[in-house]
Amino acid sequence: MPTPDLLRFRLNGQPVEVACESARVLLDLLREDLTLTGTKRGCDLGTCGCCTVLVDGRPTLSCLTLARLVDGRDVTTIEGVTPPNGLSPVQRAFVNHGATQCGFCTPGFIVTATALLREVPHPTRKEIERAISGNLCRCTGYRKIIDAIEAAAREVA
């Protein structure tokens, strides 16, 4: 058995210290060790975007990220972009615009969209399409997702 490393990083604004084998990926650490199951496992190959989290504010595929690479960094999951009471503007817009159907890809989209709007508060539809092109959705045909992100941008503005 490989010796576990001791990782220290900020998770959703709180410092954490956790033992972790060196080959463990961030997705497993989050879902299994830290029981943050909002981040979804869709492919384990970086192809679907369901496992997207923010590392230092940037969308990152947690299934392809070795957990030890987040040592000393700032990780935000879907749980971290959710206000303690109620929904964020992006989340509210996803509900009201029908941008979530089966919901399995949704946390990844919410995290990606949240990061986009922090960086580009008024994105064009093209910019939104580019930003979400690493996230697969098989239910919606993307149109309502793009509508929701546009609506959230208007609300935040």
């Binding site: 979804k40 384990d44 919606t140």
Partner: protein, 774 residues
């Protein structure tokens, strides 16, 4: 209550956000893989590396001896065959005697952790005799050296053959002014839902077994578990957590679900089996690779005289829904047109490849492509506009097809009119520059199969239970399976509509076979129609109790009362009334918590011939789509900037959900026509990942103008029909026919990839047929 339907309802017909939406957008919705049970073991599967092999022996001793391994299972322990259709049970949980495709399950282990489970799998030694493999269904229509299944017809690999003839097709073609023939070839496509297949099973010391699974049809899973494991159904509890998409791929009871339960029975511990994405591709049950040959005859005025159809379906290793698929690939040609003469031969052939099954718009998609392309050819031959040709042949409302389908509501003519008008068809068709085109494709689909798979016709297809206690919250139980299409929301909205209460009073309970009355689940686009009617009946029963109680409080006759918003009031004098809670508490004085039950069964229908029930449905949806394409002549790449989607789903009950179904269907249909394909080298699937099996990107998604033009269906709940599968079908031929308008090339080999576009254009030029001056 039998008066003319109102023009609008309080909730229904509006845009109702999903009731569970807040849980989904926060990551709090619970899917099967999110569930942890104490002491849970990890199940892993050994899959066959051979397409066809006799399993002589499997040495499990080293795996069993590995510390941390709790069970090793091979096929002989649970050999009872199962299958979604009771007439074609040919699957086993684990291969018995033979492996039938690369990916077939041949052993399973349960271990304390993933790494141990994988090590145990690697220690299994299989002695196998390689048998001939069959990659192509054409190889299997005659007797073969080693039939894949004993049940193959006369020593061949034919799983099902359907032959039907109505009227006189030869005479129709002899009298035809024109005929057209399309020989379509369709690659297999798969559902590609985002949530992988996953099951948890927990056998407990009270002799019961609880199974959580990502399934569309909890009831059929329940039955299959009982049959294979030899446990009575009442000792098995099936729970459906949130399901991350299905599209048909979670509608069969699947082998890993049964293996997971078997491993739990073996170990007495909870076991989870989560398939990785590659295994999801091997499990498949997607749309059949299909070769069809469609001939259509018309008279000089464009009136359809007859259809002559042949279909050869690649079934893969198991039967799955295949017998239904074989019928559907013929009989679903019956709408949206009047077809007086009809002949069909369909054959579904086993191959040693991942099983084909039901996928969104099951059986109606590939057939429809060829039919609609043939009609486009006939429009050209007769000089009749494609819209006019179709309106001339539209099935009238309240009619019967030649094979005795009962057609009640159809707004197909309205679909045609709306699509023609909004798309600007008359200014575009054959008038756009080279490389730019528009095409029309139409659709027709069942709104719930009249023929439930397991029940005698006398048993209801859907039941809904309601319970309301003094808190005034209404608990709704039903085994209908929300897989993202919004059926929980519709169920809640129907109950709230009938009772006049706010939506937040209504709590749709998780599907749990211990408490949910049976509904047959999410397939055949049946849920809105069947569950909707059952929900309405249940809510009306509850409303009757509340109104009766209110009548005693108000000293009025119940007939004089009506439901208002959160109250029951006198008709014509809304100021005279009691609140919902006052009526409820009065009613509870005699009975305690109120309960109500409603159910639905479709009326008896269909002819008396063999296979007559296949394709019968209590209603049908209709569609007319126009797609616009823009082709890059240099690369063969093309995009679809816009689709006008006119759809008849009767009255749309939740516009947000209906739009979502249509947009999602167009996305999936575009995937099949533009690029999705299960690619094989021989029998080996070579693109089992979402990187290599590409679904359309956001950038490829067209603008969609949705035109909901349906009139109320007389039997649908509040006038509604299906909108879950029918919206996919018209997408494919609309694009195919638009490419013809753009390039003058007929494409009959799907997906239509850029290389095929270039080849088609080259060939047209080589044949000296200029198009739009090019």
């Amino acid at each position: 209550m039998t008066s003319a339907p109102p023009s609008s309802y309080r909730l229904l017909g509006g845009r109702i956000p999903y009731v569970e939406g807040p849980l989904k957008v926060t990551g709090r919705a619970e899917y099967t893989d999110d569930i942890q049970r104490p002491g849970m073991l990890v199940g892993r599967l050994l899959r066959s590396p051979w397409p066809h092999a006799r399993l002589r022996s499997i040495d499990t001793s080293a795996a069993r001896a590995l510390p941390g391994v709790f069970a090793v299972l091979t096929g002989e322990k649970y050999p009872t065959p199962f299958g979604v259709l009771p007439i074609t049970r040919d699957e086993t949980a684990i291969a018995v005697d033979k492996a039938r495709y690369i990916g077939d399950i041949i052993a399973a282990v349960a271990a304390s952790d993933e790494r141990t489970a994988e090590r145990a799998i690697a220690l299994l030694r299989v002695d196998a005799e390689i048998l001939p493999d069959y990659a192509d269904p054409r190889m299997g229509v005659a007797p073969v050296a080693e039939p894949i299944h004993q049940r193959g017809l006369l020593g061949s690999n034919i799983q099902k053959e359907v032959v039907q003839h109505f009227g006189n097709v030869d005479a129709a073609f002899a009298h035809a002014a024109h005929s057209a023939r399309v020989r379509g070839n369709f690659a297999g496509v798969t559902h590609a839902f985002t949530e992988p297949l996953v099951t948890i099973a927990e056998a407990t010391p009270d002799g019961r077994l609880t199974v959580w699974s990502a399934t569309q049809v909890p009831h059929y899973l329940h039955r299959a578990l009982s049959e294979v494991l030899g446990l009575p159904m009442h000792r098995i509890r099936v729970i459906k957590p949130e399901v991350g998409g299905g599209f048909g791929g979670k509608s069969d009871p699947l082998p890993h679900e049964i293996v997971c339960a078997a491993l739990s029975l073996e170990t007495g511990r909870p076991v989870k089996i989560l398939l990785d994405r590659e295994d999801v591709f091997y499990t498949n049950h997607g749309r059949h690779p299909t070769q069809n040959d469609v001939r259509i005859a018309v008279d000089a005025s464009g009136q359809i005289l007859g259809y002559d159809i042949d279909a050869l379906l690649d079934g893969g290793a198991w039967s799955s829904f295949g017998t239904v698929t074989t019928y559907y690939n013929g009989v679903l040609a019956m709408g949206p047109y009047r077809v007086p003469n009809f002949r069909y031969r369909g054959r579904r052939v086993y191959t040693t490849k991942p099983p084909s099954g039901a996928m969104r718009a099951h059986g109606g998609t590939n057939l429809r492509y060829s039919v609609e392309v043939a009609l486009d050819m006939l429009a050209e031959k007769t000089g009749i506009d494609p819209f006019d040709l179709r309106s001339r042949n539209a099935l009238p409302p309240n009619s019967r097809t030649v094979n005795e389908f009962r057609i009640t509501s159809t707004s197909f003519l309205k679909c045609l009119a709306a699509a023609r008008d909004k798309s600007g068809w008359d200014t575009k068709f054959r008038k756009l520059p080279y490389g730019h085109g528009v095409g029309l494709g139409c659709g027709f689909y069942i709104s719930g199969s009249n023929s439930p798979i397991h029940f005698t016709p006398k048993m209801p297809q859907s039941t809904v239970h309601l319970k309301v206690d003094m808190d005034g919250g209404i608990a709704v139980h039903s085994m209908q399976a929300d897989i993202g299409q919004g059926s929980n929301t519709l169920l809640a909205a129907i109950v709230a509509e009938v009772l006049g209460v706010d939506l937040d009073r209504v709590h749709v309970q998780r599907v749990d076979s211990d408490v949910s009355p049976i509904d047959l689940g999410s397939y055949s686009s049946r849920v809105t129609f069947m569950m909707g009617n059952a929900a309405r009946a249940a809510a009306e029963e509850l409303r009757g109790k509340l109104v009766a109680a209110a009548a005693t409080l108000l000293d009025r006759s119940p007939d004089a009362l009506e439901v208002g918003h959160e109250r029951i009031q006198e008709r014509g004098h809304p100021e005279v009334g009691v609140t919902f809670l006052e009526a409820l508490h009065r009613a509870m004085e005699t009975s305690g918590a109120l309960t109500a039950s409603g159910s639905y069964n479709s009326p008896s229908m269909g002819g008396q011939f063999k296979g007559a029930r296949a394709g019968t449905a209590p209603a049908y949806s209709f569609a007319a789509y126009v797609a616009e394409v823009l082709v890059d002549d240099d690369t063969g790449e093309y995009r679809v900037p816009k689709v006008w989607a006119a759809f008849d789903c009767g009255r749309p009950l939740n516009r947000l959900a209906v739009e979502g179904q249509i947009e999602g269907s167009i996305h999936m249909g575009l995937g099949q026509v533009m690029g999705e394909s299960m690619n094989y080298r021989g029998t080996r699937l070579i693109n089992p990942s979402l990187l290599e099996y590409k679904i359309p990107m956001p950038q490829q998604m067209p603008e969609v103008e949705i035109l909901l033009v349906g009139d109320d269906d007389p039997e649908g709940p509040f006038g509604a029909k299906e909108a879950g599968e029918g919206p996919l079908i018209a997408t494919l031929p609309a694009v195919g026919n638009a490419l013809y308008d753009a390039l003058g090339v007929r494409f009959t080999d799907l997906p239509i990839t850029p290389d095929k576009v270039l080849k088609g254009v080259d060939q047209r030029r080589a044949e000296g047929r200029p198009w739009k001056g090019r």
